[in-house]
Symmetry: C2
Subunit: 305 residues, 2 copies
């Protein structure tokens, strides 16, 4: 852990998975190139899910095969179960993400498993990953709020996190899936975990549904979190459902940290090209507020010239 | 100062001043009623500026005359100079706001005074207010960034704040006029002031231009700020200029604080009616993200019934 923070770009996975327009492999790889050119070094590249359930991720193997490699680039992929894990590993991936909801009902509705079954599935995959020498990030989804159960008690998040860590998870992502959390809640969830488990990487995954995303990220940073998921242009959510908003925009976090003299290694100018390209391939208007602010300032500077 | 925070509603002033559609006095007073019904107790009601410069505020006296009164309601108004102060006081107002930019160039462009002249004007009004037994809040605008000078050094904000306080200002508002600040900057500005001047009320006035508004408010809260400006529905800025965004939405701050168990006395349900009414009279789509989240949840609950 250095003085800066890790921005883990999830636009290629969480950002694209519900897009109505099919994005082809070549476009995904071009987007990855633009993200890397902007300075992004951590990318969640795809998800090895059932292609029938998520057609947008049907080319997971091809995406992984086409990614550029260098010593400083870190890729991860998401898998829903052991079958997905095996496909991911067969493709050559070594950093694997798993998802389990803190809410029992959400697991049942979303992945058709009880919390107990989902936990056993996670343990099984973690065991295999340990044998294979791979890393496992476990996403604890609905960490703040569940659409079916309402507010989630902090103790339940801590308990599930401890179970996953004690079983061998190398990284835990606190995921405010609905984007309805607030900074105090993030502090209450993250601070004790960061203090208790010094060897574990904690990540924060937030959506901007209720306008609290950058506030939650700042609260997470103050609580000791140094890794944050974000999606280029705020891509994600369900474009047809105004309630389900995208991940916090990568550029909003880069703006927050870079202007606070906390290094991300990422440039807003580079992200600008990536956002423009994401707009082109998705046919959507994109861009976090920091991107629009950047664009308005560039326009002003050009007018002054 | 209690355990909660003050949300100072500025929608009737900062929110309406640049609206293209003229809002009449009756509509302003109805909006005030709805805000009060939602639990808002601090309202910046209008501005005693030159009606030729800001036609939307030409009815300042009539607005003040029409406001409802009770022991718990606190009104303030903005004035640009001694003439405005005298008009405000003649209307019966006792809590007066003044604006001075930290940036010399911004003062010259915006109010056609040098920083020195603006400072003298503030001193003169403060002197008069002390004689009259009125309170003076001084807004330090462009506290983070000036469109002409760029980043503003923290020392300059501290110096101007000290000068105003030493001269008798009872309250200081740190105003990120462009909305381009970040939480670290707010912390650096606010924390030393709150620690040094225990008897002064500090307020934070932010815009959400770069997606940092709730993060800045949270940073301000952690630095000891307990008073925050906000505008119903995010009303404000210039509707024709995407770069100039409105104040942070009242509902986003109410959501932030109430869900963090920090009392505001304001209800989201009540704000919902106020936002709908503000949409009706301005002809604009409004609502902070927390309002849209609230609406989506209400819709879901109604569907479930």
């Amino acid at each position: 852990m250095n003085d800066g923070v890790i921005i883990n770009e999830v636009g290629l996975r969480d950002g694209l998975q519900n897009q109505p327009r099919l994005i082809n492999t070549e476009q995904k790889l071009q987007l990855a190139d633009k993200l890397i050119a902007a300075g992004i070094k951590h990318i969640e590249a795809t998800s090895f899910v059932n292609p029938k359930a998520v057609p947008q991720m049907a080319d997971a193997g091809a995406v992984v095969a086409g990614l550029p490699h260098s010593a400083e680039l870190n890729y991860s992929v998401l898998v829903p179960n052991m079958k997905g894990y095996q496909r991911a590993v067969a493709s050559g991936m070594k950093n694997i993400g798993l998802v389990i909801a803190v809410s029992d009902t959400f697991n049942q509705k979303n992945i058709r498993m009880t919390l107990d079954t989902a936990r056993e599935m996670c343990f099984e995959v973690i065991n295999q990953a340990k044998q294979d020498g791979n890393t496992i990030r476990v996403y604890l989804s609905t960490a703040c709020f569940c659409p079916y159960e309402g507010e989630i008690k902090v103790d339940r998040v801590h308990q599930l996190a401890s179970q996953m860590i004690n079983h061998g998870a190398t990284e835990i992502s606190i995921a405010d899936t609905t984007g309805s959390g607030v900074p105090n809640q993030i502090d209450a969830i993250c601070r004790p975990l960061v203090e208790q488990f010094k060897d574990v990487i904690f990540n924060l995954h937030v959506h901007d549904t209720a306008g609290q995303a950058t506030a939650m990220v700042w609260a997470g940073y103050l609580a000791g979190i140094r890794s944050f998921d974000a999606s280029i242009g705020g891509l994600g959510g369900c474009p047809f459902s105004p309630g389900a908003s995208g991940n916090v925009a990568t550029e909003d976090l880069v703006y927050l940290f870079e202007k606070s003299n906390i290094n991300t290694g990422i440039s807003l100018a580079g992200l600008s090209s990536a956002v423009r390209y994401a707009e082109e391939i998705t046919g959507q208007k994109l861009g976090g507020k920091a991107m629009h602010w950047y664009w308005s300032q560039q326009k002003r500077l050009n007018l002054v010239k």
